[in-house]
Symmetry: C2
Subunit: 199 residues, 2 copies
C-alpha cells in the first residue's frame, strides 16, 4: 500500500463561478426530518464526501465549501439507494465543482477517488455523529464516508455562486473543533499517515 | 487494500506480571534533555508505538499501559539509529509485553504489525507534537509513528509490575483529550476507516 501522495500547488487550480445551488433543506430540523422519512423508505443513509488536498508553500490545504459565509462542508452528499460509492462521489463532485458544459459535465470527470479516510456514524435522527458505532446501537441512521481525492496537476473548478471554495491549511483545522466541528477538525489526524510530495 | 480487520475478545488474552521496568528518564525535563543530546549525535529521533486492538461486547478497545496510576501510553519506544521500524516495534512490544523465558522472549515473537495509522512530529525540544510538520519547520526533532497491531486469536501478555495494561474503549477515548492527551484521544479517528469483524 503506497502512502506517498503528490500534492500540487493551490495556484495550479483555476476557480470560476456557476449558478447558485440552494440547500435541499431549509433548516437542520427539516434535514433530520427528511433523513427520518428516507430511513423509513430505504434504510440507513449512505453519504460520501471528498477530501481534496492541495498545498500552499509546502503545507497541505483542504478545499472546503463555505456556505452563506458561515459553516464549512466538504463536497459530497448522500447516495441514492444502491448507488456505488466511488461513482456516486465522482458524480456529486461534478455537480458541485465541475464547470458547466465542460467535458466533466457530461460524464464522471477525471476525479481520482483514493482511500477511505474515515467513517462517521449517526446513531439517531439527531445531529451527533461518532467515528465508531456506539455500543448498543444496532441500526445506525446514517454512515458518512470521507474519501481522499487526489487532485491532478491542474484543474478548473466552478463554484456555485452561493458558496465559496476555500483552501484551509491543516494547522488551521487542527484542534479547532470550535470553528470547524468534530469532523473537519479531525482531518489532520486522518492525513497524518501519508507522506506528501510537494510539487 | 483490505480495510477489514478481525478483532478477538479481551477475554481471549491472558495477563501476567513480570519485573518492573523503570522509566528511562526521571522527569519530562530529563527526557527532553536526552532527546536533545541524542539529536546532536544521531539526528531526528524515530519513535514507534503499537495500537493493539481487541473487542469487548462488540466494541473496539485499545490496550494501553498506565504508569504509576497516572498517565497512559501505548507500548513502544524510540528506535536506535538505522533500526528497522517494523522489527524495532516487534522488539519493543516483546520487551514490554512478552512473558519472560517464553518463545517470544528469544525472537521477535508473532506480533503482526499492520498499517501506519498516524505520524506525529515534534518541531522543538518541547512537549508539543503535531500530526503534520508545522510550516517553516525544516528539522523536526522527533517523528513518532503509530502502527496497527493485529492481535492474534489468543495471546499471553506479561506486564511489568510498575505498570497496568488496560483495555480502553473507543467511546472513552473519543473527544477526551483532557484525560488521554491529543494523541491517544485521536485513535478513534484513526481507526474509523476500518470495518471490524467481532469474533
Amino acid at each position: 500500500m503506497s502512502t506517498t501522495i503528490t500534492l500540487y500547488p493551490l495556484s495550479n487550480f483555476t476557480f470560476s463561478t456557476k449558478e447558485a445551488q440552494p440547500e435541499e433543506d431549509p433548516s437542520v430540523q427539516a434535514r433530520l426530518q427528511r433523513l427520518q422519512n428516507n430511513y423509513e423508505d430505504f434504510g440507513m443513509r449512505r453519504t460520501v464526501e471528498g477530501v481534496l488536498v492541495v498545498h500552499d508553500h509546502g503545507h497541505p490545504h483542504i478545499l472546503m465549501l463555505q456556505i452563506a459565509n458561515a459553516f464549512f462542508k466538504l463536497p459530497g452528499d448522500y447516495l441514492k439507494p444502491g448507488e456505488d460509492e466511488t461513482n456516486g462521489l465522482k458524480s456529486r463532485l461534478n455537480d458541485r465543482l465541475a464547470p458547466l458544459g465542460g467535458a466533466d459535465a457530461s460524464d464522471e470527470g477525471d476525479w481520482e477517488i483514493g482511500d477511505c479516510l474515515a467513517q462517521w456514524w449517526r446513531p439517531n435522527f439527531e445531529t451527533f455523529m461518532y467515528p465508531y458505532v456506539p455500543p448498543h446501537v444496532t441500526k445506525p441512521k446514517e454512515c458518512k464516508k470521507l474519501f481522499m481525492v487526489q487532485m491532478p496537476e491542474k484543474k478548473v473548478l466552478a463554484v456555485p455562486k452561493n458558496m465559496k471554495l476555500l483552501a484551509i491549511p491543516l494547522f488551521e483545522l487542527y484542534d479547532n473543533a470550535a470553528r470547524y466541528g468534530p469532523q473537519l477538525s479531525a482531518i489532520p489526524h486522518l492525513l497524518s499517515r501519508y507522506d506528501f510530495i510537494y510539487q
